[in-house]
Symmetry: none
Subunit: 237 residues, 4 copies
DNA sequence: GATGAATGAGGATTCATTCAT
DNA sequence: TATGAATGAATCCTCATTCAT
């Protein structure tokens, strides 16, 4: 009954290249208009990020977002069919960037390193990303939006998979015999990271650094005993 | 101008002594009526707990709570001056029970035990309490209600203090030199417990047990190296 | 659709004397009950007077009246079918007393006195009554209750008639030729009295006395030129 | 936490200069839109005036006002933050016009005229204003709104001052010796005017004219004896 | 595209009134 | 009778969403 779907921008994005070619002649004006549209969207999403951060998704009113973006509510609805779509789009973008950050975190070569280095390599980008995009938490945590929940779940599942992958690569003995347990460990690791992230985001300066150190200590001590590896491990995949 | 306090009962203070005398003989009826009121309150709080659990405080409508309790909206307001008061009362009751559970958890004699037993002694009641009162999380986490936030903070500070106390009792070396670091460790411990609690609450049966075990493992491995007390420890699991 | 009518007490009041006679044997118990009922009604009306005085009729809640009377809302409805009935009953009682006061004010022999004495004789009881029954104004003025409005109108009409009567007795020349004008004068007199009454009620002590004097001065100077009766008059104050 | 002030418009402050530039060419459209808003406000205020007049402030529901204005309740709240603000705005506008009317009434040159002319000069504009703005009474009298009460008090105090000024100018002997008494006289005059105004507003045509005449007669006869200014006066009517 | 007015379904809360005890 | 809980319609107000310009 209600449109849960994407934004209207997606429709334009789906234009076939053929049509795009046809328009090259008169392209300057539309392009500018399209560019302005993009700017508006970015503007709106930035505003939404700010408002969501401050008040949470539920308490954020579309009017507040429009006002923060310096446009009228009508304009907002020119680009997003409803409030949820804003969150989904914003979540998507943040997710995209999160994936990039994580891609950088879970490099294959990291798997060969000793655990402390591995933790540095994986956690630092994740922490950095979250510090730079505080709205990410606000959205992913308890927005209650189905669309977001799905995205969040996808992200979560992805991260779980990556963590499990790392754990498997580190050759935890129980992992081979009991995949369920490995899953539990991965969940715990993720949970610990999230909990610490909250402390990290809430603090700054030296305190923040201290929490980062502490997080790594927790994970190191938790995971180190699980790791069989003396030396000989072969890169996964 | 607005009553923020408990219920609206006890308005009959102005009763003439004559009438009061008339009633002493037949006091059982009023008492039964009062009992009904208490039952309603319990009913309403239970309903509120359910609704808050499902939708969170902000999205919970008083009408929904009344409906869940099987009464009319007006009845709800006979016992609570406003939505917030319901949350505060419920939070207060849960807090009370939480304090009892925690009192049982942080017994002085536990401090002398080896870490694994200490963890069992402390965590088991906390976990049990949270499993039995899932609304506790829903309320304490992000209700946005000032009264609740205060209660939560008090609880949080109290728990931090207790954790620090335990840590200090276990003679963590850094604790003496650096109280700030001890505070960070306490925060981490609490964060880890909370994160795990979420996993524990979201699962059941064997999986839940597994997460409990995992939580204890995490904390043991995190804290054990900090403990000066020399010999008698045996890795858990 | 709604009972606008009298109270339930009225029903009992209407008991035929025959029935009353039948009951004389067992009268002591009922009489006490009835007496208690009367007390309750008096209690409730007193409470209503207070609340109406403080907040006005519209803003007065039945619960507040019951509370002020020290009884439960249910009890209030045992004696009055609805909020309006309370106002009507209270208005009726006050009106009764007002009529008594006015009856004392408009004595036939006063008509023969010189104007200053006449004014004293008429105004003093009216003023005294209103000072002693401040609820009278609160109710009569802008209660918006149809029943009250009617009572008020009756009172008003009655007073107008009496004032006209006095004026006519004083043989104002225009009164004979133009009854409409006489009516206007009566209205003005009443209006002036009411306006002054408000000032009188709002003040106390010497100030109140000053306003009383002023009121009489206004009326004297207004009416004196209209009076045919030639001889001996001396300006007041 | 809540906006008590004017309307919610003027939120577009954050507009980028780029868009602002785009619009300068087509400014007529926004202006027309704004004009529509102004019209709506006027419409709503007119509706409010009507409803307040009929039912009084307290009993007037915002939905009723919206309905009377032919708009939805939401629209009303687009322009006024709450019910009180409507009353305050309406009161303010009426007060403004009242001040203009009164400014016209209390011209300095009037003070030199004989009393009957002075009364004409002062009363006629006041009466005219009140006849044209019947909502003025409804609002100023017993709205119970703090904002209004303040406005009303200011008006009242202002009028008292003006009346006292006039009285002093007319060189009432007692005024010099006893300022308190002068104040009482001013209060009486105002009270008489108000009472008469009620009669005037409630009637029409010849009757209304008659009451106007009567009011002036009352005031003339009340004040004339107080005036020192020697001879030239002629009884009115 | 942009604007801001318009909409109306809800949500919190009150209160006159009724009812079981 | 007295009690106080129960009712539900009505009130003020909000906000996601739509529409005319």
């Amino acid at each position: 009954m209600r449109e849960t779907s994407r934004t209207k921008r997606a429709d334009k994005a789906g234009e076939s290249t053929a049509e795009a070619a046809l328009k090259t002649a008169t392209e300057s004006a539309p392009r500018r208009r399209q560019a302005r549209g993009e700017r508006r969207i970015a503007q709106l999403l930035a505003a939404a990020a700010g408002v969501f951060c401050r008040t949470g998704y539920a308490a954020a009113s579309t009017n507040a977002i429009a006002r923060e973006a310096g446009v009228s509510p009508g304009t907002l609805y020119q680009f997003f069919p409803n409030k949820e779509a804003i969150a989904v789009e914003l979540g998507g973008q943040l997710l995209q960037r999160a994936h990039e950050a994580h891609g950088q975190a879970f490099l294959p070569e990291n798997l060969d390193r000793p655990l402390p280095e591995l933790l540095d390599a994986v956690l630092d980008p994740v922490i950095a990303f979250n510090c730079e995009n505080p709205a990410f938490w606000a959205l992913m945590h308890g927005s209650g939006v189905p669309g977001i929940a799905q995205e969040h779940d996808e992200l979560h599942v992805g991260m779980l998979a990556r963590v499990e992958e790392v754990l498997r690569a580190c050759a935890i003995p129980t992992a081979d015999t009991n995949p369920a347990e490995l899953n539990h460990v991965a969940h715990m690791v993720l949970g610990i990271v999230k909990a610490s992230l909250e402390l990290i985001l809430a603090s700054e300066g030296e305190e923040r650094a201290a929490y980062v150190t502490e997080l790594k200590a927790v994970l190191f001590r938790y995971l180190d005993p699980m790791i069989t590896t003396p030396p000989p491990r072969r890169p996964p995949r």
